[in-house]
Symmetry: C2
Subunit: 287 residues, 2 copies
Amino acid sequence: MTHDGADNRPIGVFDSGLGGLTVVRELRRRAPGETIVYLGDSARVPYGTKSLATVRRFAREDAAFLLRFDPKLIVVACNTASAAAVDMLAETLPVDVVDVIRPGAAAALAATDGRIGVIATESTVASGAYQRALTAADAAREVLAAACPLLVPIVEEGRDEDDPIVLHVLSDYLRDMQRFRPEALVLGCTHYPLLARAIGKLMGPKVSLISSAAATAEAVCRRLVASGQIGDGSGALQCYTTDDAARFAALGRRFGGCDVGTVRTVGTDELERPAAAAAGDTWENAS
Amino acid sequence: MTHDGADNRPIGVFDSGLGGLTVVRELRRRAPGETIVYLGDSARVPYGTKSLATVRRFAREDAAFLLRFDPKLIVVACNTASAAAVDMLAETLPVDVVDVIRPGAAAALAATDGRIGVIATESTVASGAYQRALTAADAAREVLAAACPLLVPIVEEGRDEDDPIVLHVLSDYLRDMQRFRPEALVLGCTHYPLLARAIGKLMGPKVSLISSAAATAEAVCRRLVASGQIGDGSGALQCYTTDDAARFAALGRRFGGCDVGTVRTVGTDELERPAAAAAGDTWENAS
């Protein structure tokens, strides 16, 4: 697996849909020699309104699919799945796991000594994962978390940041947050960076917006450097989706910031039948 | 199966989530002696933004689950699944299948000789199913269909009809529809009847709002009368969901208009492994 000092096994990344491509974008910028296999579970998106038990099962199946490619590390590039399943995955998977919540929380703590706000999906907020990650590092820290259930469908509908409905919905969700006057605001869902300009306008220029995508990519690079596992490959990206490949490729550009290459479909029925699918499905013959 | 002239096998009803309970409500009102088994696929909701191929597979799995209860008829109480899969289901299932689109279209045609509008999910509108059902009966009929992707998440978020965001989003979606000036407007998604008052306010009192839920329940009753399959049982309702049972029961009240009784969870992994699950799973031992 390690050749000439470089570990060119892929990094596996999964998300409930397209949002995790914002993490892939930051990762490719910082680690251009890494091969990445991405799974977006578009057939079952969103995760943020589903129960903890269901999200855990989905996360286990997504990670099991990525294991077929012999990854050196798996990134849970979905806040909801990170909140629900990262401890379970870290305990059960045979490879390192990086989530998006701890890096996002650490970046917020580093950005300010003051109040921290978090916006995220219903289920991420209800899990208390950000609140725990922030107060574990600093028990006295004032934290306010707000659920914003409509933002994911708004981003997926393709509405522009200047759209009056986007501003109206954001104003509604951010009303209490504006009163709380945080010094940093964590965008606790990988869809939210696509609304960063509008969120920044409503919160004002003094509030630092923390994207967990960038913080997560940095955490991955630090981990690979520390373990001597940096790759020096071609930086290939192979995307899989559980729904339509053409739609994923078309919308993926917006999230990934560039062409996401060839996209393949893997049905959720195949994900849910792990035993049957293991035969010979490796990075080499799948790409 | 038929005892003393009555057919007391259950009616199977499925939907992507809770919306189909609006059909169940109308059905129980008209046919109080019918036993109903309902499956809401809340773990994979929504269907309206997924591809045709994926929705077809989900619909096939949902119907296969209902077949375990030996139903006399299956209702596809989801517009998206009706648009994508009703012909495939009617050809392959061993029982009668009633969808929500043909009854809704027929009710609109009966309500007016003039222009007909349809509002529905992205994928129902893209399928052209309502447009085809309406113009097949009357080729000269003017029809306008509009996709309203945010309405399902808005209803599922529990926003009130008077909420300024609901009115803002509806005004945006209905702008072209108002100009089209239909005489009847089909609410082509089972979630939309929960916004009927707000939609009525925007469209004006002269526009008849057509709920496919009521029209579908009537179609089911007509079918059962014609085939001599009316039941005279206790009218029991047994609900299954692929996600959290407690959440389904709590939200189900809003859609079903009454208590939905005990709700059981069946995982999508079980739906996707039909062979393994068949053993002894019947109405009797499941209830």
